[in-house]
Symmetry: C2
Subunit: 320 residues, 2 copies
């Protein structure tokens, strides 16, 4: 049985604050049409794909920001995406802000089967930024204000895709920099990691020298090492371009289990990149150098769970 | 107080099976002399720096291989290294095969202060390869036969170096591919990771397609992501060249906390590469994007300790 599937990152250009979901959804449907023409089986849209990246604005009363959240999925606004997935027989990964019936808020992603059924839901665990207004920052990054930490862990499920089955998992944006997140997926034999992001070209933290020219490289380094060290494919899809005056760096990539970039977006707008991926290419690493059962030494990893923050080491002083 | 120190990777060319420790030590002393001329504060020698990489040969009776191990450190054979360290006021990292008085065998590294005192000892945790003769392999890789798994964890200590103090830790060879190992060091605020390796240019596992041309890239990817994600410097020192007919890929590097390569060896022989490193460059990452206390979510990392090997995920089937 062939285990070749065609994966796509459907990068979005900026979505301005004034634009409604219909504008974004219309663009996404056009990317789905293009994906169909390109023989794609799975399309990965970015994090918070339906709106501008609203955590850059502070609201004292979070309820004022409620209009950025989805309270149902699908909804009237997102129905055309589900219809396109069904029409073209394409699986779809979608990131959005979720508000639950009991009022909890999450940065969420789902994977939707072509039937329109939701196969897998993930809620972002590694929320970057801060909770309160930060007067030092030039631009706020209030994910810790607008979202709770995800409560679903890092789930992996085996889903039917294009005549085969693939073990799929998800990360969202900042999660990709945390090797713990990749490893929890790897320990569940993930074969395809779907990952959306909104990452500014400039860090506005304003607390020290930041190598702005390395920000794309840091993103790619994290995705590539995550894929290599867990023997999986990764589809990392950006929003890019200047959104409400703030530049997002784009550079969506598809990466293979050797950590190689198979495809890369080179625009800052809506752009579909594709790669044909043989899922059996995940087997070599898993059975040799990254055969976890043979080589991992959990007895030496205790601090990873026992500590959250770092601790200073003891000091050695010479006797001589 | 300036926290600039000059680090060096002292790459060694091959050491043939027939060559005694005196040959290797003589070459290493010359590299120490060169380090002195280049204003170096710390020299990092490779894994198993005193002999050929003997785990490529099978011995049914391990005792026959005893002559590859050190039973004391320093010893008559290694005394010239300690003397050179003292003479030049240089700290020294040295990898060697250790046999303890009670007969246990480890793949070990030490960091030696210029007084000749041993500051820190590490015993390799992630032993690659296999324990028994493998008839499928073209070349054996018997580290699991010749060494026990290290029993010292991943220790970090704060040591005086060149008028300042640095938090130092160590990895050995295959350890560098395991993000858990880097993270345990990062959780102890490591600033400099010293790391020696002997890595063949060709994988002789012979069990599937291996991208030989990516082997250097995989090594660099692992070291660079480890440094970036733990906000530390890394000095990764190879043995390179054709050792007893087997090619080792060299490409020693020094990496900064941004994951950038600051210096790289480009020969396959004895070669000293150096970089001036400001230890305060470790602070930015630690206090912002990789502020562990603010951002790590240990409640989601359970599998990292609870499981050694991977487990298959559940299968989803469409209802529609």
């Amino acid at each position: 049985m062939s285990r070749n599937i065609v994966l796509a990152a459907a990068q979005l250009g900026p979505i301005q604050k004034a634009e409604g979901r219909d504008v974004a959804v219309g663009r996404m449907v056009r990317l789905m049409e293009k994906a169909h023409q390109r023989g794609v089986n799975v399309v990965v849209f970015p994090e918070l794909a339906l709106t501008t990246f609203f955590p850059r604005w502070y609201e004292e009363d979070i309820a004022v920001a409620d209009h950025w959240y989805e309270t149902s999925m699908p909804s009237n606004a997102t129905a055309p995406l589900f219809e396109a997935a069904k029409k073209y027989g394409i699986g779809m990964h979608l990131g959005y802000a979720e508000k639950t019936p009991d009022g909890r808020r999450f940065n969420t992603a789902i994977y939707v089967h072509p039937t329109g059924e939701i196969v897998l839901k993930y809620r972002k665990v590694h929320l970057p930024g801060h909770k309160e207004f930060d007067p030092i920052r030039k631009v706020q990054h209030l994910e810790k204000r607008y979202f709770e930490v995800g409560d679903l862990g890092f789930p992996v499920i085996r889903a039917p895709i294009a005549g085969t089955e693939a073990n799929i998992g998800m990360l969202i944006c900042n999660d990709r920099r945390w090797p713990e997140a990749w490893r929890v997926l790897g320990l569940q034999q993930v074969e395809v990691v779907m990952l959306g992001y909104n990452t500014p070209s400039l860090n506005m933290d304003n607390r020290g020298f930041e190598a702005h020219h390395l920000r794309v490289e840091h993103s790619h380094l994290s995705v590539r090492s995550g894929c290599y060290q867990n023997s999986c494919f990764g589809v990392a899809t950006a929003k890019g371009g200047t959104e409400d005056g703030h530049e997002l760096f784009g550079h969506s990539i598809i990466v293979n289990p050797q950590g190689e970039i198979m495809a890369q977006a080179t625009s800052w707008g809506d752009e579909l990149i594709t790669a044909e991926c043989n899922l059996d290419d995940t087997k070599l690493g898993r059975s040799t150098i990254f055969n976890f059962a043979a080589h991992r030494r959990t007895e030496a990893y205790g601090r990873i769970l026992e500590q959250t923050g770092s601790v200073a080491p003891a000091t050695w002083t010479p006797k001589g």
